[in-house]
Symmetry: C2
C-alpha cells in the first residue's frame, strides 16, 4: 500500500508540475512576453494542458485510486491521505469525461481569444471579439455536455470552480441578495453624497508602488515566497507554496485602484502561502473553491482594508507618502472617500454595496447565454440594458461594458463569476468567527498588527488547502452553513453609519 | 507519407514545446523567481525534462523516422524535410541511449547545484559546492558512458553542443592556438600599456541600461520579438522564433561589462531571431552548434562592437549619455581603452587576445577531471596554479577563480567551453566572407548601418537554423574548413597596430 501511495503521489506531482508550468507560462504572458511570442505561447500552453489532462485521465491513475480506496476508508475523514485520495478521485472522474483533444482545442482557443481581447478592448472593438466569444460559448456548452446528468447546463461549469454549487442553489440565493441590496443602495442614493475627489488627484506611480509593497509586507505577504508585478488584469498565481505571485495595475489618477487591488490580491496570496507545506505538489495544495478564495481577498480588502481601524494605523504612512495630496486631508474624509457608494460601470472598482449587483448581472447573463436565451451578438445591448435597469447607468462603450472583464475571453462562459459574491458573503462569516475566537483582533488591526487574524485564518482555513470542500470548511469554521444575514448586517451597519440612514 | 510527416511534426512540436516550457521556467528562475520557489522549481524542471526525454526516445518516433527515410532519401540534401528527418534521427539516436530516470536525476541535480552555487559564490565558499561538483562529475561520466564507442570520455559531451567535434580534433587545435597566442600576448606585455581607467569611472546603471537598449535596437535586435532583463549571469534564451530574450549584468564601475555583454547577447539573439519562421517548433529552429552560436556573439561583440568604425558612429551618442565621464575623452583614447589587453581573472571580461587562454584552461581541466587525473577537491588549487602558469596571475579567491562560471554548476562537466574558442576562430572567417561578398559593410558600420551585414548573415547562416551541421555550414559559407590563420591574422593586425609591435 505504501508503494501504491508513493506511486499516486508521484503521478499527482507530475500533473501538478505540468499545471504549474502552464501557470508560469501564463504569468509570463501577462507580465513580460513580447508580442512576437503570442502564437508559440498559445501552442505551448495547449501542449502542456493536453499532457496534464492525459495524465489526469490516465486509466492507471483510476486503478491506483481504486486500489487505495480500502486504505483511505480505514483513515479518519480528515487525514491528509484520506482527503488526498478523495480529491484525486473527484478530479480523475471529472477529467475522464473530457477528451484530450478537446482540452487542447479549448486551451488554444483561450490563448487566441485572450490575445484578441487584449488588442480589441482598448479599441472598443466588440466586432473583433464576437466570433471568439461565440466559439467560447460553443466550447463551454460542449464542456458542460461532457458531464453526465446535470440539472442545469451551467452546473458542471460552476462545479469546476465552486464544487458542489448549482444553479438551483445560486439562483434563489442571488435573488434574495439582490432583493436586499437594492433598497440599501436606494437609501444610500437618497442620502447626502460622499465626495471622493481627493482620491483622484495625481498620485505618481512610483510612490503608489512603494506604498503598496509596504502594506503587503505588513499584512504578512512573504516576499521571500512571492513577488509583485504589474499586469493589465491584476491577479494572483501560485507556482508552488514557496512561489505565490501577485500583480497589480496602477492608475495615477485613482489612488484606490492599485491600493485596494493589491490588498485584494494579497488576500488571495496569504491563503496560498498559508497552505501546509506537506501538501506541496498534490491537488490539495491550493485554495478549495473560488468562493472561499474570494472570501479571503474580500476579507482583507474590505473588512480589514476599508475599515476605520486599519486606516488609524496606515493613514499617517499614506500621508507621508503623499504629503502634497493628503497632508491636509483628515482621516475621516479619507475613510469616507474610500467607502463612497456610487453605482459605476466597472465591477473591480465597485463599492461594497453595489459590487454584487455587477456579479449577479454577469451570472445571469452566463445562464441566458448557455440556455440559448441570449445570443453573443446581442450581448453588448443586453449589457447596457441590464446596467441601466439594475444600476441606473448605461456604459458609453463596450470597453467599459461587456469587454471589461478578462474571464469570458480567457476561460469559459459559465462558472466565472458566482465565486465573487459567494466570497463576499463568506468573508463576513469567517471574519466574525475569527473575532469571536480572538476578540483582540480589531484592536490589533488599529495598531497595524495582523498576526492574530492571519494566524487564525491560517490555522482554520489556509493550512487545509483543498482538504475540505467549501461547504465542509464553512461548517467547520463557522459551525453552520453559508448565510447572507451576517453579510447584510455588516453592510447595513457600516454604510448605515457612513450615510446616516439608520 | 504526408500523414506520417504531419505526425512527425506533431511529435517534434510537442517535444519542442516541453523544452520551451523548461526554458521559460529557467529564465524565470534567473530573472524573477523568489528564493522560496527553488525547491519546487527544481522538481518542475525535472518533470518537464523527463517528459521531453520520454517523448524524444519514444520507439514510435523511431518507427516514424524509419518509415519516412525513403521519402527523405528522395529529396535534395538541403531540403527542409530532408534536414528535419536527418536531425530528428540524430536527436532520437542520442536520446535512446539515455535512461529517462537519469535525465530527471540530472535535471534535479542541476537545479540544486545551481542554487548552491548562486548562494555560495558571493561567500567564496567552495567547500559547499564541492560535493555538488563531485556529483556533477559523476553524472557527467555516466552520461558519457551511455554513448556507445567513444574515443575519449569527453567526446559524447562535446558532441551535445558541438556535434561532430572530438578531443582528437580539439586538443591539437587548441595547442596550436595556445602556441600562437602566447608570443602575441608576451609582445603586448612588453609594449607600452594602455590606460583604461576611463572605463572605471562611475556610470549610473539607468544610463547604461538605456544606452544598451539603443545599441541593441540599432544592431537589429527586434524588441517586438524579444526583451532584455538583468540576471546574475548574462545569457540568451529562445522560447520561439518570436520570443528570443537576452539578459545583462550592469557594473556601475565598469562601463564595458553591460555594454559589450549586451552586444554579445544581441549577437546570439540575432541568430535565433533570424531563423526561418517555417522551421518553427521543429528541432531545426535553433542555432546549429555552440561554436557557430558563439561565432555570432563574438562577431558582433568584437569584430563589430570593438572596432574603430563602430565607435566612429556610436561614440558621440555614448558621450551624450555620459557627458561628465566621457565629454573630454577622445574617441582614440576610448577605442584604445576598450581594446586594452591585460591578463585578468575573469573569462567573460577578458580581452580578445587572452580570452582563449581562459577557455583552454577550462577545456583541459574538463578533460583532466573526466579522465580522473584531477580530483574536484584539488580544483581550486589546480585553477590557481594554471592561471599563474598561463596568465601570470593567481586568483585571490575561488569566487574569481573556479567558481566564476555558471557552466559546471548548472550543467555537466565536459563540452561546456570549447564552443567559445571555436566561435572566436569562426567569427573572423564568417566576417571576412561577408565583407568579400559585400565590400561596403565596413563603411556602413561607420555610419551605424548594420543592415547589409545582418542581411548577409541571415541569408547565409541564421535562416538555416540547424539544417546544416557546423562543419557543413562553414564549408558552405567560407568555401573551406575552419582555420585558425584568419583569426590569428586578425588579432595580429588589430593588436599589432594598437600596441605598435609590428
Amino acid at each position: 500500500m505504501e508503494e501504491k501511495l508513493s506511486e499516486l503521489k508521484r503521478r499527482l506531482a507530475e500533473i501538478n508540475d505540468l499545471n504549474a508550468a502552464s501557470l508560469v507560462l501564463s504569468w509570463d504572458q501577462s507580465t513580460n512576453m513580447p508580442p512576437g511570442g503570442e502564437l508559440a505561447r498559445a501552442r505551448q500552453l495547449s501542449t502542456l494542458r493536453r499532457l496534464a489532462h492525459q495524465r489526469s485521465s490516465d486509466p492507471q491513475l483510476g486503478q491506483l485510486l481504486d486500489a487505495l480506496q480500502p486504505y483511505a476508508n480505514g483513515l479518519p475523514d480528515d487525514a491528509d491521505d484520506a482527503c488526498l485520495i478523495q480529491v484525486a478521485r473527484r478530479d480523475y472522474e471529472r477529467a475522464i469525461c473530457i477528451p484530450a483533444d478537446f482540452v487542447a482545442r479549448l486551451s488554444q482557443h483561450r490563448a487566441e481569444s485572450y490575445s484578441a481581447w487584449a488588442a480589441a478592448r482598448p479599441e472598443n472593438d466588440f466586432a473583433t471579439v464576437q466570433p471568439f466569444l461565440e466559439k467560447t460559448l460553443h466550447l463551454s456548452r460542449q464542456l458542460a455536455n461532457f458531464s453526465p446528468g446535470y440539472q442545469h447546463v451551467a452546473d458542471p461549469l460552476i462545479d469546476r470552480s465552486d464544487e458542489g454549487m448549482t444553479v438551483a442553489v445560486l439562483r434563489p440565493l442571488f435573488a434574495e441578495l439582490h432583493q436586499q441590496l437594492v433598497p440599501l443602495a436606494q437609501a444610500i442614493a437618497g442620502a447626502a453624497p460622499i465626495d471622493d475627489a481627493l482620491l483622484h488627484q495625481h498620485y505618481p506611480a512610483d510612490a503608489q508602488w512603494g506604498f503598496g509593497l509596504e502594506v503587503a509586507r505588513r499584512l504578512g505577504y512573504d516576499f521571500q515566497r512571492g513577488r509583485e508585478d504589474q499586469s493589465p488584469h491584476p491577479y494572483t498565481t501560485r507556482f508552488s507554496i514557496g512561489d505565490v505571485r501577485i500583480t497589480t495595475r496602477i492608475d495615477e489618477h485613482d489612488l484606490g485602484e492599485a491600493l485596494f487591488g493589491t490588498i485584494h490580491e494579497v488576500g488571495h496570496a496569504l491563503y496560498e502561502q498559508g497552505i501546509a507545506p506537506r501538501l506541496e505538489a498534490t491537488p490539495l495544495a491550493q485554495g478549495t473553491s473560488s468562493g472561499v478564495h474570494e472570501s479571503q481577498s474580500r476579507l482583507w480588502e474590505n473588512i480589514v482594508g476599508r475599515s476605520w481601524g486599519f486606516w488609524q494605523f496606515f493613514y499617517p504612512h499614506l500621508q507621508a507618502a503623499f504629503p502634497r495630496q493628503l497632508g491636509a486631508v483628515s482621516l475621516d474624509a479619507f475613510y469616507r472617500a474610500i467607502n463612497k457608494v456610487q453605482p459605476g460601470l466597472i465591477r473591480t472598482s465597485a463599492d461594497e454595496v453595489t459590487y454584487n449587483l455587477h456579479v449577479i448581472i454577469r451570472f445571469e447573463m452566463e445562464l441566458e447565454l448557455l440556455e440559448g436565451h441570449l445570443a453573443v451578438r446581442d450581448l453588448p445591448e443586453a449589457w447596457r440594458a441590464r446596467y441601466q435597469a439594475d444600476l441606473g447607468i448605461t456604459p458609453p462603450d463596450d470597453r467599459s461594458g461587456v469587454m471589461q472583464d478578462v474571464h469570458w475571453f480567457s476561460g469559459v462562459i459559465g462558472g466565472a463569476f458566482q465565486g465573487y459574491s459567494l466570497g463576499n458573503i463568506l468573508s463576513v462569516q469567517f471574519y466574525e468567527a475569527a473575532v469571536r475566537a480572538q476578540p483582540q483582533i480589531p484592536a490589533e488591526v488599529e495598531r497595524g498588527d495582523f498576526g492574530t487574524l492571519l494566524g487564525w485564518l491560517q490555522e482554520n482555513i489556509y493550512r487545509h488547502g483543498r482538504k475540505f470542500t467549501a461547504a465542509q470548511l464553512v461548517e467547520r469554521v463557522v459551525g453552520g452553513p453559508m448565510r447572507i444575514e451576517p453579510y447584510m448586517r455588516y453592510l447595513r451597519a457600516k454604510f448605515g453609519e457612513l450615510y446616516a440612514i439608520q
